[in-house]
């Protein structure tokens, strides 16, 4: 039921959520354990089902550890560039990506992962996360600014 490709897809999702590699593996184990306790009807639905469970566990861990990351609100109302295409135009190298990746919130990293690696649309992401699509677009808008700022500062700091 759990082939290598599926396990790696799930692990990458966990790595997007967690900053630490060990935390990601623990999260994957917990998610799989809960997923197999009550698996979906078909194998095709397993990935979507599993990442929903993994996300819930991750949120529970957040609440338990009281390290909930709050989203800044200042840009939400004034966002004008609300389109996932705003991310398409960003050009970055791997060092800059690693630099800004560490500065992104869990939600931002999750959105980026689902968009870039899993090919989710903003509607898919909103459905998975359980947030209005407008909120996702606002987050993307804020994220773009942070990534742009991060790449600028990284470049200024000597990172190529």
């Amino acid at each position: 039921m759990l082939d290598e490709q599926l396990l790696n897809r799930l692990y990458r999702y966990c790595r997007a959520l967690c900053r630490e590699e060990a935390d990601a593996y623990d999260l994957l184990q917990s998610g799989l354990e809960r997923c197999l306790r009550r698996p979906p009807a078909s194998k095709e639905k397993l990935f979507g089902y599993a990442i929903r469970i993994i996300r819930n566990i991750h949120l529970d861990n957040w609440r338990h550890d009281r390290i909930v990351e709050f989203e800044p609100l200042e840009d939400a109302s004034g966002a004008t560039d609300l389109d996932v295409n705003t991310l398409e135009s960003i050009v970055i190298d791997s060092d800059q990506l690693d630099h800004v990746w560490r500065k992104l919130t869990d939600l931002e990293r999750e959105i980026l992962f689902l968009w870039a690696v899993e090919g989710y649309t903003t509607g898919d992401i909103a459905s998975h996360i359980g947030m209005p699509r407008g909120s996702i677009l606002s987050t993307i808008h804020r994220m773009r600014k942070r990534i742009s700022t991060g790449t600028d500062s990284a470049a200024a700091g000597g990172l190529k």
């Binding site: 759990l2 990458r12 698996p39 009807a41 791997s94 992962f113 870039a116």
Partner: protein, 207 residues
């Protein structure tokens, strides 16, 4: 090398993989855990089939229990009524020791009275006559017989509704009569050729 963000992210995550030991460990765990819950199509079918079988069994047991209770209640009702008739010993409508004559008297019944070989079969028994009575609220014939020891037996023939007649043991196919004892009277209940027969006589002391 600069590249679009999406491409950079894909390449970043392509390098992230579980090692062989982790994959084996997760697959082993999932194999063990599968016994807890995986419910594929066949197991769901089995669950549904089991539920249907349990429901059917429960319904059958319930019906059987209800049927047995209904049959027992019918026998008790017949016994109580026949014992009452037997003990009252009301005056006979016809007095004769000839069974054909007595049976011929009952012309208001909607079934043919039968000459069961069991009636007046005891040595020294003598037919006294008969009278109309009721069994389960339905008109019936009562025959009265004096036994050799001087005791009185009463015999009843009646036609009950099909739902009740079906519960009466059929003497013609070898089913033994139902026997009950109430108020010192032994009652035997059976049917022959679709007609209910009941015999009531004093119960014999065991000691």
């Amino acid at each position: 090398m600069n590249q679009p963000l999406k491409q950079a992210l894909r390449e970043k995550f392509e390098t992230i993989e579980l090692d062989a030991g982790q994959i084996r460990s997760l697959q082993d765990r999932s194999g063990v855990d599968e016994r807890h819950a995986p419910r594929g199509f066949p197991s769901r079918i089995a669950t549904v089939a089991a539920a249907v079988m349990i429901s059917a069994l429960s319904a059958w047991l319930g019906w059987t229990w209800h049927d047995a209770r209904t049959t027992a209640q019918l026998m008790s009702d017949i016994t109580a009524e026949v014992v009452e008739n037997h003990l009252k010993q009301k005056p006979l409508d016809v007095e004769s020791s000839s069974l054909p004559d007595v049976l011929g008297f009952f012309d208001r019944l909607d079934f043919q009275l039968l000459q069961s070989p069991r009636i007046v079969s005891g040595a020294g028994a003598r037919l006294l006559g008969g009278r109309y009575c009721s069994v389960q609220g339905i008109s019936a014939a009562q025959l009265r017989v004096r036994n050799q020891d001087g005791s009185i037996s009463t015999w009843y023939e009646a036609l009950l509704p099909p739902g009740q007649m079906d519960r009466i043991p059929d003497g013609l196919v070898g089913e033994p009569p139902v026997m009950r004892v109430s108020r010192g009277i032994r009652v035997r209940i059976w049917k022959e050729s679709g007609v209910l027969f009941v015999e009531a006589r004093p119960a014999e002391p065991i000691l």
